[in-house]
Amino acid sequence: MESEDLRLVRAALAGDQRSFAELVSRHERYVFAVVSRHVPRDHVEEVAHEAFVHAYLSLANYRSDAPFKHWLATIAVRRCYDFYRARRRREVPLSELSSDGLELCDAILAPRSADEARRNADQEEARQILGLVLERLSPEDRMVVTLIHVDQRSVKEAAELLGWTAVNVKVRAFRARRQLRRLIEELDGPGAPAGTDHDEEQTDGSK
């Protein structure tokens, strides 16, 4: 499989366009899967397309010691990051949620087990709510959160994909998670218990 990729890479570098088309066909599903974790559905094709064009332009830099798929994933993740950097962050008020979205929030926010909440959560609506809260993060924090919590990559893997240090990724992941918790508490309404770290310590009674 990998040696076939390598053969196609070499042929593409020698100027054979059909070999590159073959590489795209072999990996398009994987790249779509990677990209769709990060960018909205209506932009997945555009970003995946850019990723493949960029891969073609950087093909000479590909080192055969790593699988071609991993190299492609790195390019795809960085194009997703570029997508958010290029796009101005949209501060959408949480009140902009549709009535369906609010109902789903209520369903999720109702006191019950996580499993039950997940069963009840309609995936598309959940995606919308997640998109809405992620929209409030910086492009960097958003990428880290998606890679670690949605894609379930390790800190090391996320750092490699983004080309950052593991410490940077770890710090960003911690801060972004805290910010997301606050946003969820904001959604929960003023009557809900406050979710600051200070309150957490007091309620816990551990201090």
């Binding site: 366009q17 059909r18 590159f20 088309a21 073959e22 795209v24 066909s25 398009e28 599903r29 779509f32 899967a33 769709s36 974790r37 559905r41 997945v44 094709e45 995946a48 397309h49 493949f52 064009v53 073609y56 999720i108 926010l109 006191p111 087990s113 996580a114 909440a117 997940r118 959560a121 995936q123 598309e124 959940a126 995606r127 709510i129 997640l130 809260v133 919590h149 949605v150 379930q152 998670r177 997301l180 918790r181 606050r182 969820i184 508490e185 929960d188 809900a192 218990p193 406050a194 979710g195 770290d197 309150d199 957490e200 309620t203 816990d204 009674g205």
Partner: protein
Amino acid sequence: MMKNKPTDRSDRILESLFSAAREDPPPSPREGFADAVTRSIATMRANASADGRSDDRIGAWRRYAFVSVAAAVAACGVAFIAVEPLSPADVEMRVDAELLGNVLFF
């Protein structure tokens, strides 16, 4: 009984949102996606080579202009020397005169 931390609740919600996003199947590439990518690469390469040709044309004109000017200056120098041959003594005298002029007037 231990009271739930307030952040436990939001953590649970976040986890359920993350897991819903994980379970969401990725979209499939449309038919002909690979062809569209290779077409745009071909177009990009064609544009790049057209730009390269245009750059080559500009480069050729610049080279031509530079060589023409250099040849004209060289021709003037040769003509001047040929018309008015100077002995080393003349050159020295002329340089001295220029130096004196510079000292007097500046």
